[in-house]
Every structure is written in C-alpha cells, then in structure tokens.
Amino acid sequence: MQQRSDDRLIAYLDGELEMGRRREVEAWLDTDPAARQRMAALAEATRLLRRALDETIHEPVPDRLIAAARGEAAPRQSSAHILPFRGRLGAQIAERRPWWIGLPVAASLFGLLVGSGIAYLGVGKLAQDGVAGRQAAFEATAANNLWLDNAAGYFKLAVSAGDSPPVDIPATEDPREALQKISQSLPQEVRLPNLKPWGLNFRGARLVVEGGRPAAALVYTTDNKAIGPLSLIIGSSKQPDISPTFDRRQDVNLLYWRHQGRAYALVGQADIGYLWGIANDIAWQLDAV
C-alpha cells in the first residue's frame, strides 16, 4: 500500500501524471497531512541530489574533452600535449553561432506561483479548515494555471516579434547596470545569473507585474538552436517554497519554483533536459533552491 502511494507521489513529483490523475493526487495531498509530509521528504531528497551534482555544470570543461568532441586526438589524462582550443565552453558557444535574437518577456507573469505543488507544501494549514482549505487550494491552482497560460502566450508573442526583444532596460556592456536599474523598482535586489556557459547572452530586463507584485523578467538569447531564447522571471511570493516543477503549454516549457520569499520561472522552448540543467545552474548561482 505504501509502495503504491509512493509511486503515485513520485510520478506526480516527476510531472508524469496526466491532468486528471494529477488533480486526484492534489486533492489527496490537500486532505492527507501524512501524504504531504511524504511528498515533502521525497522532494527534499531530489533537491539535495540535484544540488550535489550541480557543481559539475560550473566547472570548465577540460580541454581534452573538447578536443575529443572535435575529433582531435588527445591523451586520456591531461599531459603536456597542447590543444589549440579555448578553455571555456561558454565562450565557444557564445561566439560561434549567431542565430536568433529576441525574446522579450511580456508583461504580467509572476506572483501567484502556487500551483500543483501547493497542495503538499503550501496549503497544509488552510486544509485543516476543510472546505475553506480546498477552496483556497483550488483558487491557487487556478491562478497558477492562468499564470502559466499567460507566460506561455506572452513568450510565443515575444518570439514571433523576431529580432527586437522588447526590454525596458537593455543590457549594456556591464549588465549589472541594467539589474541595478530594475532592482530599484522591486522589493528585493535582483542578481543576474551568468548563463554564458550555456551560450546564453543577457539581452536586458523588463519590469512586469503580476498579482499586484512587481517582478523582473530577464531576457536571454542564444544562437544555439537546441536551447533557443529563454526568459527568467524573478518575483516575490508569500507562498511556501516548492521544488522546481515542470509544466508545458503547447510547445513552451516552463520550470517554476519558489524559495525563501522569491518566485522563479524559466520559460523557453528548449528541451526539458536543458531547462533542468539551466535551472539548476541558476539555483546554484543565486542560492535559489
């Protein structure tokens, strides 16, 4: 029995349940404190595992591996053999492929990141109040779904805009300047994750408002078609923390999470595997998960 319960929770946590079953699990979590606790423990173990392996992403890729990827003969262990390649993967990718510019983030994104995970982490106290708790959970889920719909819709509009990403504050030579400006309009300072190892260049920031709270939309573009343009939304939230949660709207992928009063969402058309990797990178840099 416990095994079946764990299987359902794990499938839910991995985003492998269809909408109907997902709602069943959310309803179950809404009314079962033990299940919520179990879910929280599974999510925590997952978070720790990701964090334990994150540092690999930030290490410079050894030259011998880049040489191997290029088909150059290289010794298996580092030696005196000098290879004519740059040491940083990010610099290579960034310089190589001018492809596509343009991802603005549109208005109205964040704030109400409540969603599917809310049931097990967020609404516990509310749920004690029976119907009121379920109503609150329902409303939170609906709000989250609406937000995700909007985020995906705006993303597609922005992508269709082409080469002129609509940013309020374009990135200058020193991108920190853009962050400082937009941070002045936010309750918390926004830090800029460096995503150049992924070939992603910061193009600028846009101030968006969602749920009555201002948020920053950071726009990144790349010439790597496998990743494509991305936006990172950083807002504030009074909701409980949740682990990165995957969702999808047509061909737009979203990873969203909350940590210590901040809400984050990574939106793009990259494969979910890339999004996970990039989200891990962001969380590591910002200590955001």
């Binding site: 492998e16 173990a45 720790l48 334990a52 591996l65």
Partner: protein, 195 residues
C-alpha cells in the same frame, strides 16, 4: 546519410584517424558536454573516471555519428552512449571505490574549498547515490537530475517504462532513507541552504 556527407549544411573537417567530423555534430557534442559530465559523475562517483567516461563516449559518438538520426534528441543519444559504456565497465571490472576515495577525489576538484559542512553533507548525498544499484542510479539521474521523461529514459536504457518507474521508485525511497539516516549531513545542508 554517410559520415562523409556529414549533417546537412555542415562543413566537414578531416581529422586524424576518425574520418571526417562535421562541425555541426561537434558543436552539438560540445554543447552537451557539461551535462554529460554531470551524468557521468553521478554514475561513476569519481571526477577522473567521469571525464574518462565522457571522453570515451565522445570518441564512440564520432565514430558512429552516421547512426544519429536527425530530428531525434541528441542529448538522449549521448546519454545512451555514456550509459552503455559505463555498464560495460561495471560488468568488466568492479569499478566501485571505497567511500573515502570517492570523497577525496571529489574534494580534489579545482573549486575553492568553501562551506565545508555543506560539502560534507553533499558528499553524503553522493555516497548515498553510489550505494544504489547501477540500474537504479541511472534511472534516478536521468529523470531527476537531467529532467528526462520516463519514456525518454526507458528508450535510453532500453527497458519498458514500467521498469523505469519501478527502478525510480526504489531508488528514491532508498535515497531518502539513506539521507534520513545521516542527520549530521542533512543538518549541514540545511544550514548551507539557509546561508
């Protein structure tokens, strides 16, 4: 498509003894290297073994680049190569190392030493990962760290989706139990996360 033709629109370079390598193919390979290293690190439990594993995977991928089907996921194809080579290594020799060796190897990376307690706690997580059977470890890494779906993971490992679900369930429960049995590590990690 032959290896000589390369991928569409991609210039070819003649290299050493492996024949022509398309620049586009190499670009894809380089782009996925950080994730391959992370996956290999999780599998092998060692920095040097992981890089050897990735290097071997690169060499095999280049030798078989004509087998890659355009329109399919390149990263999944590479994960499969890494996993296959690693399984071969596991079968041919006992590559498991003593816990102390693993920790020392990992701590020997270039990253400056910081937040020692947190690192010890994360080492505990890695040790818990190392204790999992290889098939469970693979499923856990592909789904939870690399973010692949059950179906994609099943295709990489070449087993039914139900088998992946079963392995994943056992792995997650085992991992959680091992972490719960290491209260010092958990506390340290929480402390670090709160910083």
């Amino acid at each position: 498509m032959s290896a000589r033709q390369g991928l569409a629109g991609s210039p070819l370079r003649l290299v050493s003894d492996r024949g022509p390598v398309s620049a586009r193919f190499s670009d894809q390979l380089i782009a996925v290297l950080p994730r391959l290293r992370r996956f290999a690190r999780g599998l092998s439990g060692s920095v040097s073994d992981a890089d050897d594993l990735v290097q071997a995977a690169c060499e095999r991928a280049l030798a078989r680049q004509h087998q890659f089907q355009e329109g399919t996921r390149f990263d999944s194809w590479m994960f499969r190569i890494v996993q296959t080579i690693w399984i071969d290594q596991v079968r041919s020799r006992d590559v498991r190392k003593e816990d102390g060796d693993i920790a020392e190897d990992r701590l020997g990376s270039d990253e400056p030493v910081r937040r020692v307690e947190a690192r010890l706690a994360l080492d505990e997580v890695r040790r818990a990962l190392d204790r999992l059977p290889p098939d469970q470890r693979t499923a856990l890494l592909l789904v939870t760290v690399e973010g692949l779906s059950y179906k994609e993971t099943a295709e990489i490992v070449q087993v039914p989706v139900g088998t992946i679900m079963s392995r994943l369930s056992r792995a997650r429960i085992a991992l959680q139990l091992q972490l719960e049995a290491a209260p010092e590590g958990r506390r340290s990690t929480k402390d670090a996360a709160a910083q």
